[in-house]
């Protein structure tokens, strides 16, 4: 180890040499003095002295520094060995680097999303997410302010409970209004999360429910819109055309409490005093609540505590708490709010796939290593008989594997610093303020180190230990190359090949299932026609218009856009299906008595006239909305088939009434079911209301055209700006693009599984090729003899081929058993195909079998073509 300050060590080494030399000289001198000749004295003294390097070696061990020297020597030896076979070194390093990178990439995604749900927050493990009622993907905010306040003040399990509500709003006051994502938060929000302000202060407890227009800016907004103005605190800015005062700036990196979503600014719950209704009604559920557990309190205890409190609240206010009121707690990594619910369903499975790839690669490298060791067995035997002990040999061989893995780990580290950033590529343009990226922090680096160590153990130590077991004398005696390192090594080699095939088969089957799922999703009929549709969001609700003004503008927009050339149908909506955005509300059918804990949530959308026409959703009974369904007309509602069957089974739903947010709506139509979020969802009841009677939070212009919807975009934007140039228009894109969001997780799954399976296929096929070719080469002599004794070429061909096919057959059988046991874990990610789909399984088995056959055919063909005479000569 040259870089060590081993000055003293080297001096001592020299002195030891000198000391032993002096011993020898004195012994010679004594013998000469006794009358022996100089020559005889030297020979005798040397023989008497013994093995000088060995004496040096055992003496040095007494210095207590021996291991360091050994390590240095082993590293140098290993480097020399690796340099001697660059082909092996480069192949093995590259394969390991790819396999480690696959693992660390997926892990960095998990780390960046599930493991760091709230960047910047203190002691994330103590934070839990509260859900009330039904559990599903992306539920609506579950708590009203008064309920939240009671829970916060009466519980004894939490160090703090915070609440927030996210919404879009427009930053006005500039040349163009800018839509930003805002959060109404409880006063203790930053405190419970453990965030300290970068500038200014955060909210005071007394400000929570009062109309004080204060705002906290996120670091990125402060940077991009206000140029990092150091004097921003105290300045007034305009939000939705209301002046508000900046009181603080959040630190860099903190983006809010909803995992994966980016907040731009924070205000208190009712900063303008305009939201009195939702501050004072227990049936106004609009808050998402996160708690920090007291030290020593478990999630279960806290849930029990909250449920007891909730029980009292429900008993006191039964009318405001219909439906399911049970509270459940989740760790932030699995919080249903934000994106982690989706992540938790996808990423761990991909990590398991990557783990299989790593195992496969290690088995492959172990095969190569073993082959190398077997061909070096003469060298190893000679060294062993010259005094190297087995531990030492094994250590040196393991060192080769360790070096490979360390280099591969370093390469993987470099690769991962790039691949971890690719996660965001999988998500199409969308209207969600998504912040999704892998992270390259210490955890990932440590993960890579651990993975590399595992790989080193698997592909270095195992073959080293096995090949060191051959008795030195036997190996040296055996002159012929036909003993291929003993039958034990042969068995290990075969075992490794079988393992590679058995591991790659499930990978291939899963990726086949994922790919077919993706195709099924793409070709599935969502129940609506999304072709030739353009959607554009108008920042009507966020820009600070009154309800009356907004309705007027909506009418104007419809008029103008309908009149544009090329527009077949123009309508309005507040929701686009299959964008991962879900809206829900409580709907109480008149006269319907819910069971205890029955959820009365339905999905809802507020749509304009001709909405169903524009999407080709048939109205099965009744009619669709018209311009006349406005605020002056009686409230009307359209339900889908699922809702109709749930509430009025066997009856005519037309004319029935539903109570939604305090008003009674009469059913005027039944629409055919269509996809809400995922093609493979189980249908939930859905209701549609007229946007002119019950305006939603969004206003989206939806236009059907004959041609390419993108061509219409400038005209639509112009038409809206002609009404009011200050109206923000954003997220203008074809509907087909927006709905891709629904299949983005299927795309991630099939892309990665496909890549992993390809790697697995290549590894398995090269593995079996390598082993069959190697063993055939070792048997060249034997084959020559067989042919000389009359074996035909076909016999030789069959001999070699059958050997490889046996291994393939065993591997396929094992792999099939593993696959059949494992595919049920991905069952719920599949669509339109069973987890044990026979067509996929059979075609994958045929593919892998055919590739293996080819891999065995090549060496068999070569062996058949050999000239027996030269083959016999070859040893």
């Amino acid at each position: 180890m040259k870089w060590l300050p081993s000055f003293g060590f080297r001096r001592r080494k020299r002195e030891l040499q000198e000391e032993l030399d002096a011993h020898l000289q004195m012994a010679i001198a004594d013998r000469v003095a006794r009358g022996e000749t100089a020559e005889a004295a030297r020979t005798a003294a040397t023989r008497e002295f013994g093995n000088i390097p060995l004496v040096q070696d055992v003496t040095r061990q007494m210095w207590g520094q021996g291991w360091l020297e050994h390590l240095g020597r082993d590293v140098r030896y290993a480097l020399r060995q690796l340099r001697k076979s660059p082909g092996f070194t480069i192949t093995a390093t590259a394969m390991l680097a790819v396999a480690i990178c696959a693992n660390s990439t997926v892990f960095s995604w998990i780390d960046g999303t599930m493991l760091r749900p709230i960047p910047g927050a203190r002691d994330m493990g103590d934070l839990v997410s509260l859900q009330r009622g039904e559990r599903n993907f992306s539920p609506t905010p579950p708590f009203s302010y008064l309920d939240y306040r009671d829970l916060r003040e009466q519980n004894h399990s939490f160090a703090g409970l915070l609440a927030y509500h996210n919404d879009w709003i427009a930053l006005t006051g500039g040349a163009q209004p800018e839509p930003v994502y805002i959060a109404n938060v409880s006063a203790n929000y930053f405190d419970v999360l453990g965030i300290k302000p970068l500038l200014g202060r955060f909210f005071m407890p007394g400000e929570e429910a009062r109309a004080i227009p204060n705002v906290v800016l996120s670091y990125s907004l402060w940077k991009t819109r206000y140029g990092k103005d150091p004097a921003i605190v105290g300045k007034s800015i305009e939000v939705a055309r209301h002046p508000v005062t900046v009181i603080g700036v959040a630190p860099e990196g903190f983006i809010g409490a909803a995992p994966g979503l980016r907040d731009d600014l924070w205000v208190t719950l009712n900063p303008l005093g305009t939201d009195v209704w939702r501050m004072t009604h227990r049936n106004a559920d609009w808050l998402i609540v996160i708690g920090r557990l007291r030290p020593g309190v478990s999630r279960g205890q806290a849930a029990q505590n909250l449920n007891t409190l909730m029980h009292h609240i429900v008993a006191a206010y039964p009318d405001q708490h219909l439906g399911d009121n049970r509270i459940t707690l989740d760790p932030m990594s699995r919080s249903p709010f934000g994106v982690n619910g989706y992540m938790a369903a996808t990423l761990p499975i991909l990590l398991a796939f990557a783990g299989v790839v790593l195992l496969l690669t290690s088995a492959n490298v172990a095969t190569l290593t073993l082959v190398r060791f077997v061909s070096r067995r003469r060298e190893l035997a000679i060294r062993q008989s010259l005094g190297a002990n087995r531990i030492q040999l094994v250590r040196q061989m393991v060192m080769e594997g360790a070096l490979l893995s360390i280099v591969a780990g370093a390469v993987a580290l470099l690769l991962t610093s790039w691949t971890s950033k690719t996660f965001a590529w999988f998500f199409p343009a969308n209207s969600i303020p998504l912040i999704l990226n892998g992270s390259m922090d210490l955890k990932v680096v440590i993960g890579i180190a651990i993975i590399s160590m595992l790989a080193a153990m698997l592909c270095g130590a195992l073959p080293a230990w096995r090949s060191s077991q051959a008795p030195a004398a036997e190996v040296l005696k055996a002159e012929s190359a036909s003993i291929s390192g003993g039958s034990r090594n042969r068995k290990l080699l075969s075992g490794l090949v079988v393992a590679q095939i058995a591991l790659s088969l499930p990978l291939l089957i899963c990726s086949g299932l994922f790919l077919r799922t993706l195709r099924n999703l793409a070709t599935a009929n969502p129940g609506f026609d999304q072709n030739h549709i353009l959607t554009a969001s108008v920042g009507l609700n966020i820009a600070g218009y009154s309800n009356g003004e907004a309705q007027l503008i909506r009418h104007k927009i419809l008029d103008r856009v309908s009149a544009l050339p090329g527009v077949k149908v123009a309508t309005l909506t507040d929701w686009i299906p299959m964008t991962l955005i879900q809206k829900r509300c409580d709907a109480y059918p008149e006269g319907y008595v819910p069971h205890p804990h029955e959820s009365l949530l339905v999905e809802d959308a507020e749509v304009g006239p001709r909405y169903f026409e524009s999407l080709h959703i048939p109205i099965l009974e009744g009619r669709e909305f018209t311009l006349n369904d406005n605020e002056k007309a009686p409230r009307v509602i359209i339900v889908d088939q699922t809702a109709a069957r749930r509430y009025w089974p066997g009856q005519d739903p037309l004319g029935k009434r539903l109570r939604v947010s305090g008003s009674l709506f009469t059913v005027v139509g039944v629409a055919r079911n269509s996809t809400h979020t995922f093609v493979n969802e189980s249908p939930e009841p859905m209701v549609y209301m007229s946007i002119f009677q019950h305006p939603g939070n969004e206003t989206i212009v939806q236009v059907k055209t004959d041609g390419n919807p993108v061509d219409l975009a400038p005209a639509v934007e112009n038409a809206i700006h002609e009404i009011d140039p200050r109206l923000p228009v954003f997220d203008v894109r074809p509907m087909r693009e927006s709905t891709q969001m629904a299949s983005s997780f299927a795309v991630i799954e099939s892309t990665l599984a496909g890549m992993f399976a390809l790697i697995g296929l290549v590894l398995a096929v090269t593995g079996i090729y390598g082993v069959v070719a190697y063993r055939t080469q070792l048997r060249t002599h034997e084959i020559g003899v067989r042919m000389a004794l009359g074996a035909s070429r076909i016999d030789v061909f069959r001999l070699v081929l059958s050997q490889g096919l046996w291994l393939t057959g065993i591997g396929l059988a094992l792999g099939l058993a593993v696959a059949l046991g494992l595919t049920r874990f991905i069952d719920r990610l599949l669509y339109g195909i069973g987890a044990n789909d026979p067509i996929t399984i059979v075609s994958v088995v045929i593919l892998l079998g055919a590739m293996s056959l080819l891999a065995c055919y090549l060496p068999a063909h070569r062996a058949m073509r050999r000239n027996p005479v030269t083959a016999i000569r070859e040893l």
Partner: protein, 121 residues
């Protein structure tokens, strides 16, 4: 088993005894490795032939434990050699080694030379 392992085992077997013998030899004055081998051989009447593979590890270990010190000096025959000298701690160690040795010899002796007891029946 390799040669090195054999050395190691012998060191373990003889460790206490060899240390004691070396320290005893150094009682008569500083000596180099070769001198110690010769002295042990002569004093044991050619019975004890200490091998270099045992001697030098033992010397270096004794030095590390602070029981001997070494310095480079010229021998009588003008050969530069490393001389080992027993330290005060080494003398104390020698005394305790000797005590232990005597007890062992006595114990073994009493086993080996025990007179058969009279039958008690």
């Amino acid at each position: 088993m390799s040669e090195k392992d054999q050395y190691k085992n012998r060191i373990e077997l003889l460790q206490g005894t060899l240390d004691m013998l070396i320290l005893q030899t150094l009682q008569w004055g500083p000596q180099h490795g070769y001198g110690i081998v010769q002295a042990l051989r002569l004093q044991s009447g050619n019975v004890l032939q200490v091998e270099t593979g045992s001697l030098y590890p033992a010397l270096h270990r004794l030095e590390r434990q602070g029981w001997v010190q070494s310095e480079w000096k010229q021998s009588e025959s003008k050969q530069r050699a490393r001389y080992y000298r027993i330290t005060a701690r080494g003398k104390k160690q020698l005394a305790s080694d000797l005590g232990r040795w005597e007890r062992i010899v006595e114990a073994i002796g009493s086993v080996m030379y025990v007179k058969p007891k009279e039958s008690e029946s």
